[in-house]
Subunit: 461 residues, 3 copies
């Protein structure tokens, strides 16, 4: 590095030359709207403001996941888990730009896969929005799906394996399943009820992330010391409930972009829909937190437990994500209440099965993603969709089919990814010694809180 | 818990059966606007975007209070104070949904109390906004009023007592007084000046929170060790100025929703008003911080003190909250400057009175809430309201009446709540032993920063 | 302080009397628009919403810088660095109100300096926005330019010197140069290409901050222990990568206000431009992070390094700031890729030159500010601006002139400020003893994490 700097940089030509060619090829001049109708222009501008701000809030959820997961794990792995939460969004940004968006929202091949729009080519409006605004909103959702896994697989996964996982989910697994549901694919057009419905992604984002988290943690096995030899679970507390709490506040905040933003418009009746979604989102989160606190207090730890309460809020948020535009506030409270029970007993169930999910990603995202998707089929009464309580069994059936199909897809691709590709060919889990010392030391050579920097000479004065 | 899981869950039917009945009863189909006028639709959409985003920023202030208060208190109570700041918003969400909103904004019974809109029934627009958008904006204000108390009462309050307090303030104390001022009640229609005015809540939110904080801390008494036997105050530093600083940045940011959002509209002349409010808010915060720094540096600690400066910024923000739409930027600077003095000497005054307010909630929210409310009566020249400097004594009188009335209401209800209900019947303060060990250990069984999780084996390598 | 409180407050009359006079003099009644055209009113409201929200996001970047810089430095200086990041925005708010805005955006004296609008006088719309909205947006940019320096000069600068620096940059250095580029001054009207272009401030904000950071750190010299006697660099790790990571997430988020907000409008074709800017901003950040990670991993530390990756993201963000509205997404990826190389080898170059820049402010803000400004002259193809790849050498020349001129201006004023005024007359650097003990102890008398508050008695139980 000290000598021949230029020689070391030679390889860069293999990055830049093709990139320059690509840049010239891909020059996209967006068709700046020159509509003569000022009302239509204002409407488009208004909806663009809304969607962009919502997208920024969803981007912010990356920080929420980073802090939630780092707070719930040990300081010796903090650099690693933060790193993962930064780099998976980096990979998502580039993978979704190159491939993912096209597979998810491109012209559909028989409802199974998108086939156009690679490298953000094509400049027409989508959903009445500038294509770049729509793309940006969809990107942050892809990033969310990708980042859910890092918590469940924390404290024992090789960094390189995580990089590969990140690229594959953002480029392939998420977009293809997403196409079936949000890209006009076959699940969206099922001949039951109004077809499979998932307003903001209980299944599309959270269950997909949750399924892969489950397969990933099964491929890894539990952390050393998580279960005694006789199988007794031994909790491994995280290093900072402050970080975890900040993470949940960030996520809760970001969800006000995630769900209400998914309306993709706010003029006319959309304003009512968006506001209803915001209220439902908040009520489900509050009830999820309350019920998780009560259930834990009454039946599990016998104390009010902050960790369980935070996970309860997230559970409510995940569960309301699919049905938020189709149910009443009262139904949202009910859905949130059930989610609070699901997340507490879901975590207990995983422990009984000796599955180690350090941040409860599976109960939060998978189990409540499923619950929320089915709850839509039960409680829907608004927005032109009806569920069981309105006597419509077809919608519930469509939801059930979607849940099962996505489960099969994720278990299948997740198996290939984690058990075959990563475990057999790359190496998925760090060594025993490395796990003791912490990932930060071995993988990154950088502790999160170096002793010399933290200790204050003044204090010793 | 290990056996008979289902039997343990039996009680849940008492939650869910009534809830399902309620859900069907309360099914509210919002009257999706089908206005033929596209300009009116756009205006409504525009104002909804603005109010929803402002509401999200105010929600974010919950995280700001959580981190401010946790940073200014000791690590042994961190789980507890974070928990309080999460759960009071949970209670506010549900209490304001069921009761609070109706009491505050329902059809008025002679200007004293609202009587309609329980459980979010009724779907007409309010203030030109979808009712759900208006409700959500008001909810986050109720949440702010509720959360102010937790800091003043920190490090020695029983968790159960705090839960009860949270529900009572959100369901009853805040909404009823709020009705008098913001619900079209009798204070808003006083025959002096333009009636009592409080643009964004120096009194409605901050003084109410501040008064209850004062009564609560009086009911508790000071923390062990806060005052020596001879009465000498002994500062108890908080465990992380980093967390407190982040909290203040979050609050400052959130205030750009709190104040400018309170215009509830942004079309036409509202755009000027909103922008003026944003500028005034920022200038008062800056001046409050600057003056608090200078005063502390020159007369108190003889050093530039970050804690005092942060509280100065908050003091300026609280003080400008009432008058921000009615004064010039220059007047805002003046109001902020006074607030910086008030907060520093207010904290000193509390110490002299041997009142222990760990985070200076009373100087920040109560004293500056009063100052800001009166300052409106002095400096108002904009937005159709005039104060003393424009020769209008009536407005100042209206403000003074509002301040006194709210003080009486809060001291009265606070006395019943803290001294009678909680102290006599529930138990307000934790045991001496528990206070030594910290609330986290006894109340929650979970330290914020467990030693095993924080210490890094790699470091010991 | 205990006695004669009032006498101590006497001096305040010298603050308040003039201020009251000023307040009455400066009473500015904004000309509330009473336009009869509802479409124009809506457009103005829509653009105001967008610009205000973008401004709030840019304000939030103050917290990002605070946490980034605090995380990358030692705990014994944490109070100090957080304090600086709070107080420089306070000074910016007041200095930009009194003087800075007028010098930057006032009526131009021959393209060299603005001459009107002191103390926010004058109420006409600017850029189709309420003047207060435009002012607020510009203020947060001035605050950003000011705060960049604190990191480079951290851990060894006297607090008083920093206060003076803050006022001077916000009142004079930034606004005058800003006038040349954004105030309609001579650089903006250069007869080459479309004149000097800097969409959101690679040069105006980041290079100015970066140049002053460089001069400041040169005036200070390196921290004790940063270089061995033989010149070998010895890294001084920061105390919390968690704080630094949060800082970068905040900055990345805030940049979605910084860049897309700089369009200052979002109706009609502006919606396409804003969305393109958002996408370009994100792609450059992602690529900067990715390339910095790869380069460090392959050639420098041989490990994936989180600090380098975070700085890579910031480097991409700084570099794309000037060209984001004028290039394609593919070109943004290319620009971001180069920025990732620049930031890594820029930091190595500084080390070789024995310049101590604790947070890499110079590689991030100065070097990539220059790179981004020149990249505009190379890759511009959109928004009516063309660069080298479109055969336009004039634009590149204009960019080069701007880069050089701003460099000369900053080195000249920075020399006067840091080497002459502060070093000779005020005192720039703390004592050797103070540096060992930490700034928090001596300058502020307040540790960031006091031992008594952090240690938990329960833990010792």
């Amino acid at each position: 590095m000290k000598t021949n700097l230029l020689r070391h940089l030679k390889w860069l030509r293999w990055v830049f030359l093709p990139a320059i060619v690509a840049a010239s090829l891909l020059t996209v001049t967006p068709a700046y709207a020159q509509e003569p109708d000022p009302t239509a222009e204002l409407m488009r501008g208004l909806n663009t403001v809304w969607v962009l701000i919502a997208a920024v809030l969803v981007f912010w959820m990356q920080a929420g996941f980073a802090f939630l997961e780092a707070g719930l794990t040990r300081a010796k792995n903090t650099t690693n888990i933060l790193f993962k939460n930064v780099i998976d969004f980096v990979f998502a940004s580039l993978a979704f730009w190159a491939i993912g968006y096209a597979l998810m929202f491109g012209a559909s091949a028989a409802g199974w896969i998108g086939t156009s729009g690679f490298f953000l080519s094509g400049g027409e409006d989508v959903a009445g929005l500038p294509v770049m605004a729509f793309w940006f909103f969809q990107l942050v959702f892809a990033g969310t799906a990708a980042t859910i896994v890092s918590g469940a697989m924390s404290e024992r996964t090789r960094f390189v394996a995580y990089l590969i996982y990140s690229a594959v989910i953002s480029a392939i697994i998420y977009p293809i399943a997403g196409h079936w549901m949000w890209g006009g694919g076959w699940l969206a057009t099922l001949p039951f009820g109004a077809g499979f419905k998932d307003f903001a992604g209980s299944t599309v984002v959270h269950s997909i992330g949750g399924w892969l988290a489950l397969v990933g943690t099964l491929a890894l096995g539990p952390r050393i010391g998580r279960f005694a030899k006789d199988g007794t679970p031994r909790p491994i507390p995280g290093h900072s409930i402050s970080m975890a709490t900040l993470g949940v506040f960030i996520l809760w905040m970001g969800w006000f972009g995630f769900n209400p933003g998914s309306q993709l418009a706010i003029h006319g009746g959309n304003a009512d829909a968006v506001a209803l979604v915001a209220v439902n989102t908040n009520l489900a989160a509050a009830t999820g937190a309350l019920v998780a606190m009560i259930v834990t207090w009454a039946f599990v730890t016998r104390k009010p437990d902050l960790g369980a309460t935070l996970n309860g809020a997230l559970a409510g948020l995940v569960a309301i994500t699919a049905p938020c535009a189709f149910v009443t506030p009262a139904a949202s409270i009910l859905i949130g209440a059930v989610s609070g029970v699901v997340v507490v007993y879901g975590a207990i169930l995983l422990e009984k099965l000796k599955i180690d999910d350090p941040v409860s990603a599976v109960p939060v995202h998978l189990m409540n993603g499923i619950w929320g998707t089915l709850a839509l089929g039960i409680f829907a009464t608004e927005g032109g969709v009806t569920g069981l309580i309105a006597g419509n069994f077809g919608q519930f059936l469509a939801q059930l089919i979607g849940v099962v199909v996505v489960g099969v897809w994720c278990v299948f691709t997740g198996y290939l990814l984690f058990f075959v590709l990563l475990k057999k060919f790359v190496g998925l889990r760090i060594s025993r010694e490395e796990e003791f010392k912490g990932l930060d030391f071995k993988e990154h050579g950088a502790e999160a809180y170096p002793g010399d920097a933290v200790s204050s000479p003044a204090g010793a004065d």
